[in-house]
C-alpha cells in the first residue's frame, strides 16, 4: 500500500477534505493520546514528506478483534485517512494478497524498513512443543516473531493476547500460550492490553514514535502510562454513584436502569488499569461495557479476566473517601455492658466486704 506523498493532498481534496481538516485530524489524534497540539502539525508534515512510519502487523492466536476495533475508528472517510497516517506494509487481514505473494511482501517490508519499522503483534504465541500449535505459512509463530522482532525499530503488542496471553492462555492453557514480552525477553515491548485494545492507544503510541522517534513512558508491564496508569474506577462516569452508595443490585432493577454503579454486580473497575471510559470504542459515545450497563470484566488484567468470575468482587486496594464526612466530634470509644458489670461487681464486692468487715470488727471491739 504505497502512498505517493504528493498525491495525498490531491486525494484528500477529491474526498472533500482540505489540508486544514487533515491537520485537524492529526491534531485530534495527537490530543487523544496526550501529545501536544503542535505535534499534529508535525505529523501532517511527516506524512506529506513521505515519512510515514512503516508498520508490520503480525497475527497469531487471536480473534482479530483488535484489528476490527482499529478499523472502526471513524466514519469510512476519516478512517482511511487515519490509516493513511501510517504505512501498513504487512497485514494479513487487510491485504488482498495471499500465499507466496503476501510472504514476499513481508520479506520486502522487513528488508526495506530494517531497524525502523514498527512491529505490531496481535494474538498470543504458543510455546508448547516448540510452538507448533500456531503455524502460519509453515512457520511456527514463535519463530516468526523472533525473526521479525530482531529487525524491528519498535515493538508493540496490541490486545491482551499479545500482551500477556489473553484468552488462549486461560486455564488450563493447553498450548502454553503467552504474550510477546514473555517471548521477546530483554526487548522493550509496548503492551496495549484490552480485549479488544482501544485503538486510539495504538495510534497514539505509533504516531509518537513516528513523529518524535520516542515511545511513551511505560510502566513495569510495558503499558503506556498515558492510558494505563489509572484504573477504570478513577475515571468512571458512574463514580459519583459509587461515592454516594448508589448501586445496581440486579440487572434490570431500578438502580440498573437509572445507571447506577455496577460495583455490586462484580465490576472490576477498581482493579483494572485502562482508559476505556475516556476513549469510546468505535467512536460511539458510551460504547464500552460500563457504558452499556455491564460491569467491567477487567479485560486488560492477567489476574482478573478469564480468572476471576465476572460477577465476583475483588478487594479494593486503595479506596477513596465516600460522599460522607465525619463530624467534628464523632462518637469514639464505648462501654461494654459486660465490662460495666464486671467493674460494678468488683467495686461493689470490695466496698461491701470492707463495710461488713469493719462492722463486725467494730462490734467485736466494743464487746
Amino acid at each position: 500500500m504505497d502512498n505517493i506523498a504528493t498525491d495525498l493532498i490531491a486525494e484528500l481534496e477529491t474526498k472533500g477534505v482540505s489540508r486544514r481538516d487533515f491537520v485537524k485530524v492529526c491534531t485530534m489524534a495527537a490530543g487523544a493520546v496526550g501529545l501536544p497540539a503542535w505535534a499534529g502539525e508535525k505529523m501532517a508534515e511527516n506524512v506529506e514528506k513521505g515519512k510515514k512510519p512503516s508498520v508490520i502487523w503480525l497475527h497469531f492466536q487471536e480473534c482479530t478483534g483488535c484489528t476490527e476495533s482499529l478499523l472502526r475508528t471513524s466514519h469510512p472517510d476519516l478512517g482511511s485517512l487515519i490509516l493513511d497516517l501510517v504505512s501498513i506494509d504487512y497485514h494479513e487481514t487487510l491485504f488482498a494478497a495471499a500465499g507466496y505473494q503476501i510472504e514476499a511482501a513481508m520479506e520486502k517490508a522487513i528488508e526495506e524498513g530494517a531497524g525502523k519499522f514498527v512491529l505490531i503483534v496481535e494474538g498470543a504465541i504458543p510455546e508448547k512443543d516448540g510452538g507448533v500449535y500456531c503455524r502460519i505459512g509453515s512457520k511456527n509463530a514463535i519463530d516468526t516473531l523472533n525473526k521479525v522482532a530482531s529487525k524491528a525499530g519498535a515493538i508493540i503488542a496490541i490486545g491482551s493476547c499479545a500482551s500477556w496471553g489473553g484468552v488462549p492462555s486461560a486455564s488450563p492453557n493447553p498450548t502454553a500460550a503467552t504474550g510477546a514480552p514473555q517471548i521477546l525477553k530483554g526487548k522493550t515491548v509496548v503492551t496495549l492490553p484490552g480485549c479488544p485494545a482501544n485503538p486510539y492507544n495504538l495510534l497514539g503510541t505509533v504516531l509518537q514514535y513516528a513523529t518524535f522517534g520516542t515511545l511513551p513512558k511505560l510502566d513495569e508491564k510495558g503499558r503506556p502510562e498515558f492510558a494505563y496508569k489509572r484504573v477504570i474506577h478513577d475515571d468512571c462516569p458512574r463514580r459519583a454513584h459509587f461515592d454516594n452508595g448508589r448501586f445496581a443490585k440486579a440487572f434490570g432493577d431500578e438502580g440498573h436502569r437509572a445507571g447506577w454503579c455496577l460495583y455490586q454486580l462484580g465490576c472490576k473497575g477498581p482493579q483494572t488499569h485502562a482508559n476505556c471510559s475516556l476513549l469510546d470504542f468505535c467512536e460511539v459515545p458510551g460504547a464500552w461495557p460500563i457504558g452499556i450497563g455491564h460491569p467491567c470484566v477487567g479485560c486488560t488484567e492477567q489476574n482478573i479476566v478469564f480468572n476471576v468470575p465476572i460477577y465476583t468482587n475483588m478487594p479494593i486496594e486503595k479506596p477513596t473517601a465516600p460522599m460522607a464526612y465525619p463530624g467534628i466530634a464523632p462518637a469514639q470509644g464505648g462501654v461494654s455492658a459486660v465490662a460495666a458489670g464486671v467493674a460494678g461487681l468488683a467495686v461493689g464486692a470490695a466496698i461491701g466486704a470492707g463495710f461488713v468487715a469493719s462492722k463486725k470488727l467494730a462490734k467485736g471491739d466494743e464487746k
Binding site: 470509644g333 464505648g334 459486660v338 466486704a353 468487715a357
Partner: protein, 421 residues
C-alpha cells in the same frame, strides 16, 4: 537495734490453698502481658470493647492503667512514705513497728506500678533513652515521675533488705550468714541517708502524678483542673497511705494470728484527720477562687453534664469529709472495726480523687468515651494479686510483721480476703 525487736517472720506453710489461688491469678497476669506484647494494647482483635486486653484509645491514651495500676497502687504503697515521714522525719519512733510492713507493701506497690508503666509503654524497647542526659526534656513532668519512681522503687527494696539480711544471718549456709553479718551493719549505718531519699522522692513524684494534668487545661473539667493539683495529690497520697496502713494491719491480723496494736494505730490516725481537713479546705477554696475567671466558667458550661461532674465531685468531698469526721472521734480511732472503716474510706477517697482526675474529669473532645474492658479490669486485679503473693511470701519468710508471737505461729488461715486489693 531495739526498735526492730518486734518483727518476726510469720513462718508456717507457704503453699496454702489461698496462696495457690494467688499464684493462679499471677499466671493469668503473665498471660495477659503476653497478649499485650504480641497483639498490642488493644489486642488480640483490635479495639473490641469485650475482648481487647485494654480499651485505651487515642482519646483516652492511659485508660485505667495509669490511674489504677500506677497512681492508686502507689497511693496505697504510700504507707511507707506516710509512716516513714512521721517516724523518721518527725522522729516519732513509737511507730517503728509499722515501718517494715509498710515498706514491704510499698516496695510491692511501686514494683507493680513500675511494671505496669513499662508494659503500658507503646515503645518500651526505647526505655533506655530516659537515661541519656542530653536527650532529656526537663519540662516534662512525666520524665520526673519516671526517674523518681525508678529510683524510689530501688530505695524501697533497699529498705526491705535488712529484713532479708537478718534472716540470712541465721542461715544454715555459713558463707551466706557471714556475708549477711558483714553487710547488715554497714547498711544500717547508711540507712538515714537512704530513708531521707525514701521521704524526698515520693514527695516529688506523688505530687507530680497530679501535676501531669496541669497541661491539659481545656480537656480537664474545671472542678479538677488547678495549679494546686500537685499539692492536692501529695496531701491525698499521705491520707491514702495512712489509711492503707490501717487496712493492711487489719488484713494481716485477720489473715494470720498476729497482735494488732490498736492504740498505736489510734494515735497515728489523728494525722490523716488533719491532712484531710487541709485537703478539703484547699480543694473547695480553690474551686471557688478559680471560678471567678470567666474562661473557667465558659469551660464549665461547655463541658456540661452537671449531674455527672457535680456528682463525682460531691462524692469525693463527702467521702473525704466522712473519713475526717470519723477520724476526729476518739471512739472511732480506738475501735478496731470503726478505724478500719475510716481507713477504708481514706483509701477509697484517695483512689476516687485519682480516678476522677485521670478519667472522669478528662474529656479530650466531645464524642470520646472510655470504659475499661473486662480483661483490662482483670489485668489490674491479677496485678494486685501478684503484689499480695509476694507480700505474703516475704512476711512468712522474713522478719517484717510486728506482733507475731515468739513461738511458731500456727498455720495461717486461707489467703486473700475479699476486702484486700
Amino acid at each position: 537495734m531495739a526498735a526492730h525487736a518486734h518483727e518476726r517472720p510469720l513462718g508456717g506453710q507457704i503453699l496454702t490453698s489461698g496462696f495457690k489461688f494467688l499464684l493462679a491469678l499471677s499466671a493469668v497476669w503473665v498471660a495477659l502481658v503476653l497478649v499485650r506484647l504480641v497483639w498490642g494494647l488493644n489486642g488480640p482483635f483490635g479495639n473490641d470493647p469485650l475482648l481487647s486486653v485494654s480499651a485505651q484509645s487515642d482519646g483516652y491514651a492511659w485508660g485505667i492503667w495509669k490511674p489504677l495500676n500506677v497512681v492508686t497502687f502507689t497511693g496505697i504503697a504510700a504507707g511507707a512514705f506516710a509512716v516513714g515521714l512521721v517516724t523518721y522525719g518527725f522522729n516519732k519512733g513509737e511507730y517503728h513497728p509499722l515501718i517494715r510492713s509498710c515498706v514491704m507493701a510499698g516496695a510491692m506497690g511501686y514494683t507493680l506500678g513500675g511494671t505496669s508503666i513499662m508494659i503500658d509503654l507503646g515503645r518500651y524497647w526505647n526505655l533506655w533513652v530516659i537515661f541519656v542526659p542530653q536527650w532529656l526534656n526537663w519540662t516534662s513532668v512525666l520524665l520526673e515521675i519516671a526517674l523518681c519512681v525508678l529510683a524510689y522503687t530501688l530505695v524501697l527494696w533497699v529498705e526491705v533488705a535488712p529484713s532479708i539480711l537478718e534472716k540470712l544471718e541465721t542461715s544454715a549456709n555459713p558463707s551466706t550468714a557471714a556475708k549477711a553479718k558483714k553487710i547488715l551493719p554497714a547498711l544500717r549505718k547508711a540507712m538515714p541517708f537512704i530513708i531521707s531519699l525514701a521521704i524526698l522522692l515520693p514527695s516529688m513524684h506523688q505530687s507530680s502524678l497530679g501535676g501531669l494534668f496541669m497541661v491539659a487545661h481545656t480537656k480537664t473539667h474545671p472542678y479538677w483542673h488547678t495549679g494546686w493539683l500537685p499539692a492536692l495529690f501529695l496531701i491525698s497520697c499521705l491520707t491514702m497511705g495512712f489509711g492503707a496502713v490501717v487496712v493492711i494491719e487489719n488484713l494481716t491480723t485477720m489473715a494470720w494470728k498476729k497482735k494488732l496494736d490498736q492504740p498505736l494505730l489510734a494515735r497515728l490516725s489523728i494525722i490523716p484527720a488533719w491532712l484531710t481537713v487541709a485537703y478539703l479546705v484547699i480543694r473547695i477554696a480553690d474551686v471557688f477562687w478559680r471560678f471567678r475567671d470567666p474562661m473557667v466558667q465558659a469551660r464549665h458550661a461547655a463541658m456540661g453534664k452537671p449531674l455527672f461532674y457535680g456528682g463525682f465531685f460531691l462524692l469525693e468531698l463527702l467521702v473525704f469529709a466522712a473519713a475526717a469526721a470519723m477520724l476526729f472521734s476518739k471512739g472511732v480511732r480506738e475501735n478496731r472495726g470503726k478505724l478500719l472503716g475510716a481507713g477504708l474510706l481514706l483509701v477509697f477517697a484517695g483512689a476516687l480523687y485519682r480516678f476522677d482526675t485521670y478519667l472522669v474529669a478528662y474529656q479530650p473532645s466531645p464524642g470520646w468515651s472510655y470504659f475499661p474492658t473486662p480483661l483490662e479490669i482483670l489485668f489490674s486485679i491479677t496485678l494486685g494479686a501478684i503484689g499480695v503473693t509476694v507480700y505474703v511470701l516475704f512476711v512468712k519468710l522474713f522478719p517484717i510483721l510486728s506482733g507475731v508471737e515468739a513461738t511458731n505461729a500456727p498455720d495461717p488461715v486461707g489467703g486473700k480476703s475479699a476486702a484486700s486489693h
